[in-house]
Symmetry: C2
Subunit: 273 residues, 2 copies
């Protein structure tokens, strides 16, 4: 499978989508520290792979918590393809790097999961904020963590998700600071993207959602917040990953942080206006 795909790299790629080109590079073993900025305009997603017996509960968890867990693609049981996200997409090889979890412990971080694939696995791809960040920047809004070359700061909140089966835990939010007038614009723009986290869930007053110190994010990096800015919080696709790991499933596979699935969908397809 991998050999076949490497061969595919040698073909004329002039007609290929940049997203497809990126997946073929990762399939061939190319690693990157982040897929941010790869294939601009194309949707990227968080990956969660679970055994079938957990997948139904996880699917229900996503259904109950659509803001942090917007499913943009899902495989059949045991099938590594998700044609809706890319005709030739192979979820076992097409991300730069994966994390393998057993009983909630990280056991491996390979560049493909051919050796770990099982006939009972179901892959979920969950929307990510890269889609709406592109729309924010297109509107002229500056995104602080991008300006500062950092990962977006993310925080575990005191807001519980709706539980489903073994999956329960707090909402994780990402934070971007804006002046109030820009925050209003950002709310308007991200409202147009309900399938990729949509409008913010909160702004200002971090203590109201259980965040004690904005300078100490639970994931990602801290960013500068100017005195005339307020922190604006969006539901974050790290939520499902955090909830999965806390349930300590016997087996799970996720993407390695920052190394997302690059799909052939366009961000603009997710805009409802």
């Amino acid at each position: 499978m991998v050999a076949l795909s490497v061969k595919a790299l040698q073909r004329d790629t002039s007609m290929e989508l940049p997203s497809t080109t990126a997946r073929l590079l990762y399939r061939a073993g190319r690693d990157v520290t982040s897929t941010a900025g790869v294939a601009p305009g194309f949707v990227q997603g968080n990956l969660a792979i679970l055994p079938e017996k957990l997948a139904a509960s996880f699917h229900r968890f996503c259904q109950l918590n659509p803001k942090p867990c917007p499913i943009i693609g899902m495989s059949e049981v045991g099938d590594p393809r998700i044609p809706a996200l890319g005709i030739d997409l192979d979820i076992r090889t097409d991300l730069p790097r994966y994390r393998i979890w057993r009983d909630g412990e990280l056991v491996d971080e390979p560049t493909d999961i051919m050796a770990h694939w099982r006939s009972d696995l179901v892959a979920f791809v969950i929307g990510c904020s890269f889609s709406f960040e592109e729309a924010l920047m297109a509107d002229g809004l500056a995104i602080r963590h991008i300006e500062e070359g950092r990962n977006v700061p993310m925080y575990r909140t005191s807001v519980p998700c709706e539980p489903a089966g073994p999956f329960a835990g707090p909402l994780v939010v990402s934070m971007r600071p804006f002046r109030p007038a820009d925050a209003i614009r950002a709310i308007q723009i991200t409202t147009r993207f309900p399938a990729v986290h949509g409008a913010p869930v909160h702004f200002d007053r971090p203590e109201q959602i259980g965040i004690a110190d904005l300078s100490k994010p639970d994931y990602g990096d801290s960013v500068t917040i100017a005195p005339d800015e307020v922190p604006v919080f969006w539901a974050c696709g790290v939520t499902p990953q955090s909830v999965i790991l806390e349930s300590r499933p016997e087996f799970a596979i996720t993407h390695s942080p920052g190394r997302m699935l690059v799909t052939d969908l366009r961000n603009t397809e997710f805009s409802i206006q």
Copy 2:
């Protein structure tokens, strides 16, 4: 004209719009302290009447400042009708009470302006926040000044409007407090009503727009702001009235505060979704 209209009151009104009924009552001389809550579902508007030689500058002022000055109707020079807002509407009689201004001074506050009408006058009707407040309440959001039976608090800001001719001055904003999650919802809902002030212009941080003390509004009444709430500020239709009076025009007519024009347009017509 008034006699004819009183006669109209005696006809069968069972097929009449509640907005038309309200106008006919005011035409017959009925006064009220406020039109808030009159003819639910129908658009109400602020009134500004100016001599033709000032009207062009004022029209341009509204064009340059659409958030505080959304024109929803306008008469021909000297014509008291605005059929787009109501087939039989007569701007000289159909509001409960008017204010007559000479050189910027209030000189009369009559229940009709038949004696003040001139062939060079142009009437402007400017959208009002009643339209979006109805949509907010329909979504389950509580509006504090309505809960507390007060007028909405309004503040002169340090934000200058774009000037046009003699018309210049600060943006006036109305304020409604919400918890952040409700404020986000309120931003989404009012974004759907660009023709009646639209999304807020600011939230929290009153000092950023030159408001020193929220408990001392420049117009209207103060309202309670709970510790977990932030003030949210919308551009306000009092702005054009304040700007007109500050220009001290030789002659102007406005509605008396709270006594708006009730039109036959429906609030839902102003929703873009």
